[in-house]
């Protein structure tokens, strides 16, 4: 039982860790100062949420794994994040759209998780639900501004939709471990969050003059540990210090 919840929290923690790492890669490279501040700030929120989830998962499984063991010392197949969050940053339009897709899912997720029968998870959710509100507003405003912007920005936004929409189905995957946790009321059912996600995306796409594409072949595999090639490159950078200098600390 504890293991099912631990595994589900690790998968969720992986989503946050990997997306946080992707966002942090923008630090020093953003198109303007405000965005150079906003993306590391949001990365910090995501990393903080990942730390909470990993620490609690480590306690639940009782094998003595810490947040650092989970973040830095697993191999690629042991990471269970969805593929969407590991997609490369691409241009600014790609990054903002990826952020919107994820935040539009996490907002109703954390809202529902405030009612979790596990009080620790409910506590994390109460904190996170306020932070995610900023993320969704920030990404949503950019998607609208770029989609309904110049010819060039609209083209880039449409390219991003084409490249990333195929990864959004995986947000709603229910693993066996998650099903156990949903039954116990520990975690919300991802499937139940789909209407809310759809509503947010439709509303923002309407304003951004973007079309929601038909997806013939949704891409998934991350929840089973099957990742894209880019993920290996991301991990090599993320894990470098702990691999090269084991046990290194600040």
């Amino acid at each position: 039982m504890g293991q099912a919840l631990a595994n589900s929290l690790i998968a969720l923690g992986d989503d946050h860790l990997i997306l946080g790492h992707r966002l942090s890669q923008w630090c020093g490279h953003a198109p303007m100062l405000e965005e150079d501040l906003s993306m590391p700030n949001m990365a910090l929120d995501l990393l903080g949420q990942a730390r909470n989830l990993f620490t609690y998962a480590g306690e639940l499984e009782g094998k003595g794994r810490t947040e650092d063991d989970l973040a830095y010392l697993r191999s690629d197949r042991d990471y269970k994040n969805i593929l969407l969050v590991e997609r490369p940053n691409g241009d600014f339009a790609h990054t903002m759209l990826r952020q919107l897709y994820f935040a539009a899912y996490m907002q109703p997720f954390w809202q529902a998780a405030c009612q979790s029968t596990d009080s620790t998870i409910a506590g994390f959710a109460e904190k996170a639900v306020k932070e995610i509100a900023y993320h969704i507003r920030h990404a949503g405003e950019w998607v609208i501004r770029l989609g309904d912007g110049t010819e060039e920005s609209a083209r880039r936004m449409a390219d991003a939709v084409e490249a990333l929409h195929i990864y959004t189905d995986e947000l709603f995957t229910v693993t066996d471990d998650m099903a156990t946790c949903i039954d116990k009321g520990h975690l919300p059912d991802p499937q139940s969050l789909r209407p809310s996600w759809q509503r947010t995306i439709t509303q923002i796409f309407d304003e951004a003059l973007l079309e929601i594409p038909e997806v013939a072949f949704p891409q998934e595999g991350g929840r089973d540990g099957r990742h894209t090639e880019d993920f290996g490159h991301l991990l090599s950078e993320l894990q470098y210090m702990q691999r090269a200098y084991p046990g290194m600390a600040w």
Binding site: G123, K127, H138
Partner: protein, 175 residues
């Protein structure tokens, strides 16, 4: 005999109360590492200090999930209690989640004097989070200010500039 027992009980209750107040005072004086003009008590993140079996247990709420100061604050509170002569332990509490509504009146005044516009009150309403808010300049009190960036030097602050005195300043965001 009965009266003596009662008296000694009263005296020990008074001692506990006194020791508890002393522990609170020691922990409450710890400054925030990133905004040192205010203490952890001013910010409302120090929730309680209780004596449990001779140990001072401080409960601290993080401001943001990813706030890098969380660990530094917890260590500083523990150190302050140790220095005051208590065996000490710090517990991190997530629920109820910290809100800027818990920043005390004194804390708001200290922030303003330091050049940081204090958070608007009533942050829990959606209106405060997303409605149009007026942020007054901490230098000249003008209400004519412009938001430069929603994100600032720490997760809890946004950048503003005063249209009247041209002062650039931080605004402590509502949460």
């Amino acid at each position: 005999m009965v009266a003596t027992a009662k008296l000694s009980k009263l005296a020990s209750a008074a001692t506990t109360e006194f020791e508890q107040a002393r522990a609170w005072a020691a922990a409450a004086a710890v400054p925030d590492p990133e905004v040192p003009c205010v203490t952890v008590a001013d910010l409302g993140i120090l929730r309680s200090v209780e004596l449990v079996n001779g140990e001072a247990v401080a409960r601290v709420s993080p401001t943001y999930s990813g706030c890098p100061a969380v660990l530094a604050i917890e260590l500083a509170v523990e150190a302050a209690l140790l220095e005051a002569g208590f065996a000490a332990r710090v517990e991190r509490v997530f629920s109820p989640a910290w809100t800027t509504d818990w920043v005390t009146q004194e804390g708001r005044e200290k922030l303003k004097a330091y050049g940081i516009a204090p958070p608007q009150e009533q942050s829990n309403s959606k209106l405060a989070l997303f409605g149009e808010t007026t942020v007054n300049c901490p230098r000249c009190d003008s209400s004519q200010t412009t938001k430069i960036s929603e994100f600032g030097s720490t997760p809890c602050k946004a950048h503003y500039q005063c249209d009247i005195c041209a002062e650039p300043f931080d605004y402590f965001k509502c949460l």
